[in-house]
Symmetry: C2
Subunit: 317 residues, 2 copies
């Protein structure tokens, strides 16, 4: 297992700069008054392809040696990694094949195709996905870029918190959502080297709290198909992300479905930005743990903004 | 009738700076590709109180002489002017009384109260509103700040396009929504002095196109209670705003309800910002008049972001 280094992150940042945005950091007097903390929202919802995932995907794609370009890249994902890898491959002019469940929303399929990706459908089960994906790799010889358990991807995600500490001085803590752990691992990689006094918190839905339970147990616990409105956070930790989480994270905090939806709606209403349910989990946990963050300068990573405007979660509540 | 001058606008900008944001200008590759123009979105949805109206309201409130402070300010509005005047009065520590129809959404009433405003309810008719408002003025002696037909308000709104031309070089045109004409008048005041070659377009809902018909007829035509999803744009021009519109506007373009809703959804989806239906009218008209704007550098004023998240317009379509 290759653990990405600080040099990998710095190289990633140089490599991806032409293809990603240096996203803005927003503040809100209302949110500061509400939480008693000073919050700095790093807005990856404004990122290319609508999510931070384009950082890791671009690093993998633009780091490919020339002799591997002809066969392209491939992944399995029905979320932001699928869009991001398609975007990055499109920018480099290579093929990107995405294995997606046939049940994935048409909007997501359209977005992948819009960025130039090629979709191969599987049944909505792990066994079908793995079988079909193996076939794709065998037929195309494409380079597999895993959504998070990949050193190139983690080095790319680490560029987000490097920008954040350049944009905001003297942070006490950074908090980001945790699913598979790609963003949190990149954050650990960067901050443990460049700002080792900044505490790193991960935020997770109660209904998909496998990372929080893994953290307490001291080993990876993987849940089978948890259900949560924060649909980007259903996947389990893997060995590479577990390495960073177990070594550098201060704590993993959780929030209920209602708390996540309420925090999301509050951000939309008061900050006037469109972001995904997954990105609301950090604020939801800050509101539940006010004492922990009171008086602190806290970076909050808004991980993405790809949401189905016809099916907003508060419509169901 | 006192016509506000360039000096009034410059003085307004100095006066309100501590109380309003210098809002960002966003760009979108997607929107540029779609329209064939280079669009620069001036995002007043991120403004204090969620709309540009706080500029004019703050100028009126902070320009009040000391001997008028005790009696406070008053207005009639169920929209952004009510929030903005309440916000500005709260910052100066004076009373703000707002006459609102009893049928106004509870969320709007809560927002006025949240900023420290005092609500007096009237029946949802012009006669009731005028009678109750006259009583309020008689009882309180408060200074009336009209939502748009007021030189202090227009001078304040003009600060928005002053920022825009500082933020973006070599604009060919600026386009903003038109209702009563406060924002457009401020834009005319500023650009006719500071950037007289920049064309000024106003954008209006087809279903509330009294300004477009006035413009063609050469005199004010006022409609009685037009119905449109762009609820900030239902009010008619008045003599002061007509002065600016008739002297400085290049054209008034219109869009249908469906076109407005589609443009709004597109901005939310691709730019990840929350903004009001009224603010989508300019993009809707650009999409209908691509030839007019092709290859041009166009400032687009996103006037506000106060929208009821439980009742989004595409839910009705």
């Amino acid at each position: 297992m290759y653990i990405p280094t600080m040099d990998d992150m710095m190289a990633a940042h140089e490599r991806i700069k032409p293809y990603v945005h240096r996203t803005p950091v927003l503040t809100s007097t209302f949110m500061n008054d509400l939480t008693g903390a000073e919050l700095f929202f790093k807005c990856e919802n404004f990122q290319k392809a609508g999510a931070f995932k384009v950082r890791g995907a671009s690093n993998a794609v633009f780091g490919l040696p020339d002799d591997m370009l002809a066969k392209g890249v491939a992944t399995h994902s029905s979320g932001n990694h699928a869009l991001s890898l398609s975007y990055a491959a499109g920018r480099r002019g290579i093929t990107c094949t995405v294995v997606m469940p046939c049940t994935a929303p048409q909007a997501k399929k359209d977005a992948v195709i819009g960025y130039g990706g090629k979709i191969v459908e599987c049944a909505p089960s792990t066994s079908s996905r793995e079988a079909i994906f193996a076939e794709v790799i065998k037929e195309t010889g494409a380079e597999f870029v895993h959504p998070y358990n990949d050193p190139r991807v983690i080095a790319g995600q680490g560029t987000c918190s490097r920008e954040l500490i350049e944009q905001v001085d003297n942070l006490d803590a950074v908090i980001a959502p945790i699913g598979g752990g790609g963003m949190i691992s990149g954050t650990c990689l960067t901050l443990s080297n460049l700002a080792p006094n900044v505490k790193i918190y991960a935020a997770e839905p109660e209904q998909a709290d496998d990372a929080a339970r893994s953290f307490k147990a001291g080993h990876i616990i993987a849940d089978d198909a948890p259900e949560t409105v924060a649909d980007g956070l259903k996947v389990p930790l893997k060995e590479l992300t577990w390495h960073f989480v177990s070594n550098h994270v201060t704590d993993i905090l959780t929030a209920s479905e209602d708390e996540i939806i309420e925090a999301m709606k509050l951000i939309w209403k008061r900050m006037k930005i469109v972001m995904e349910p997954s990105s609301a989990v950090p604020l939801a946990t800050i509101l539940k743990n006010k004492k922990l963050f009171a008086g602190k300068r806290v970076g909050v990573i808004i991980t993405g903004g790809n949401v189905d405007l016809d099916h907003l979660p508060w419509m169901k509540v």
